[in-house]
């Protein structure tokens, strides 16, 4: 992957990395070693779907604590076919241009550049009808 991920183990270039509990069958993100729903320690790490639908969204207009990227930026909830809703950055900062159920696609975007010139990247979802 180009750039340094903001945190290890969250995503690849194409997918979020989630966990599927082999006991209760439910998915979670980020992948954990114990199921956050049933407590079973039987987790398979899985690549989550690349596309989903928009379940909720807003825009963050002032930099939250610890964030050094640009504002405003889109922020929302993406529903994935695995039956999972994920909090994510959204590549649309104008809430008026988004709608419930709109298709969105996974992506990786730069957050900021480190002192040594390395880009720090994070996961995002972008409106699929525009990419």
């Amino acid at each position: 992957m180009a750039g340094r991920p903001v945190h290890e183990g969250l995503f690849t270039e194409r997918h979020l990395i989630g966990g599927r509990c082999t006991s209760c069958g439910r998915h979670h993100f980020p992948a954990a070693v114990i199921c956050p729903y049933c407590g079973a320690a039987e987790i398979a790490r899985v690549e989550l779907s690349e596309t989903g639908t928009l379940w909720g969204w807003t825009a963050v207009t002032a930099a939250p604590p610890g964030y050094e990227g640009e504002v405003p930026f889109g922020f929302g909830v993406v529903e994935l076919p695995e039956g999972l809703r994920v909090i994510s950055r959204i590549e649309e900062a104008d809430p008026a241009r988004l709608s419930f159920g709109a298709p969105v696609r996974f992506g990786v975007v730069p957050l900021r550049t480190d002192e040594d010139g390395t880009e720090v990247v994070t996961y995002t979802f972008a409106p699929a009808d525009r990419t």
């Binding site: 903001v6 945190h7 989630g18 439910r26 998915h27 979670h28 993100f29 980020p30 956050p36 729903y37 379940w55 909720g56 969204w57 807003t58 825009a59 963050v60 207009t61 002032a62 930099a63 939250p64 604590p65 610890g66 964030y67 050094e68 990227g69 930026f73 922020f75 929302g76 909830v77 529903e79 039956g83 999972l84 809703r85 994920v86 909090i87 950055r89 809430p95 419930f100 957050l111 720090v120 994070t122």
Partner: protein, 380 residues
């Protein structure tokens, strides 16, 4: 049969910003007032709610007035810290461990968007520690599910700020118009700046005791003090997880706490005369109507529009002005609700008095998740 618990005294330090006073001094003011109000009893334990005051915060307050020696327990439960402290004290009195306990909450909030050790550093770096954005997502879903408009959100602020005008303990004591609210800047669509409460400073205290065998005049009893956390699975839970299930049937912590409290008190929401609820943002108040079962699901906007929850309405909500008028010092806010509700039940709330109030409910919910619901009764 377990013993009943009565509120023997209340005290408060007004909410606001006080550069010249330490959090300990705020606490001393509220505690001394509550002890004086209760007739300066001997209390056998103290519980102090706070999220930001640091190590042994309660000891510092009681140390400043020479009342240490008893067990002092600091309790952190986010916005419900005071409710959690109250639950512990009430349970101990019911069980016969103590006859009298002091409960207080103190806070000096950092300025700006609340920074919390709750979020992992990477989540902050990625911009995902945007607390108001989570409020906004909840507001958007409520608007979709209950047909609430931005005008309704502005009207919550108009109502609560109008209530707060006559509350000497509130930070904001001027009326506002819906136009002014909607003209304030958008923080996170659909929430404008004036629709969000201000984190600030303050303290509140309550003295609880097992009722003496004989006492003159009306008494205020604590009928229930319930605390609940979140169930797993809800993406918009105040637990602010990074993911949740595509399942809308997960009960929120406020509903769990309300059910437990109604059960403990042996009554239902239709019996209530006055409510103080969590209005961190305007949508949160409307959501609370539904989560506490005050109104049927989907009717929160209608209740507001019909004036049910205004002073003079059938069930006034936040006669104190709510957090939108008072501001929110986390550790103190739940106990300040109790101070307001006891004042109402005593019939001493002046121009914001809810006539004939006999049953009152206080509700807080926030990070953790933690939700607390307190029910108070005046008798006879």
């Amino acid at each position: 049969m377990t013993r009943s618990v009565e509120v023997a005294g209340i005290g408060i330090h007004p909410f606001g910003r006080f550069e010249d006073r330490s959090v300990t001094e705020l606490g001393v003011t509220a505690v001394r007032e509550a002890l004086h109000d209760a007739g300066d009893p001997h209390f056998q334990a103290a519980f102090c709610g706070t999220a930001y005051a640091g190590v042994a915060a309660g000891h510092k307050v009681l140390g400043a007035i020479g009342r240490t020696g008893v067990p002092i327990v600091d309790v952190e439960a986010g916005c419900a810290s005071g409710g959690a402290a109250l639950m512990l004290a009430a349970g101990a009195i019911r069980a016969g461990q103590y006859d009298c306990a002091l409960v207080f909450g103190i806070e000096k909030m950092p300025r700006g968007i609340i920074r919390s050790s709750f979020f992992e550093p990477w989540r902050e770096e990625a911009g995902l520690a945007a607390t108001p954005a989570y409020f906004a997502l909840r507001a958007q879903r409520l608007m979709r599910d209950s047909g609430i408009t931005k005008d309704d959100l502005a009207d919550v602020v108009v109502k609560n700020r109008a209530h707060g005008v006559d509350n000497p303990n509130a930070m904001f004591r001027s009326e506002v118009t819906a136009e002014q609210v909607l003209a304030s800047r958008v923080v996170c669509e659909p929430l404008h700046l004036w629709m969000l409460c201000s984190p600030n400073e303050g303290a509140a205290a309550v003295v609880l005791r097992a009722p003496p065998e004989q006492s003159a005049g009306p008494r205020i009893t604590l009928e229930a003090a319930a605390l609940r956390s979140h169930l797993p699975g809800s993406v918009l839970s105040e637990g602010t997880p990074l993911s949740g299930l595509a399942d809308d049937s997960v009960d929120p912590p406020s509903t769990l706490a309300a059910r437990a409290a109604y059960d403990e008190a042996g009554l239902g929401p239709a019996d209530l005369d006055v409510v103080e609820c969590q209005d961190t943002d305007a949508a949160r108040e409307l959501l609370s109507y539904e989560e506490l079962g005050l109104c049927p699901e989907g009717d929160a906007g209608k209740w507001l529009a019909d004036g049910v929850t205004r002073l003079g309405g059938r069930l006034p909500v936040n006669p104190s002005g709510g957090l939108l008028s008072k501001g929110e010092p986390l550790g103190a806010s739940a106990l300040a609700q109790v101070v307001e509700l006891v004042t109402q039940l005593r019939g001493r709330a002046g121009s914001r008095q809810v006539d004939g109030a006999r049953l009152a409910l206080g509700h807080t919910v926030g990070r953790g998740a933690n939700a607390s619901v307190v029910i108070l009764r005046r008798s006879p």
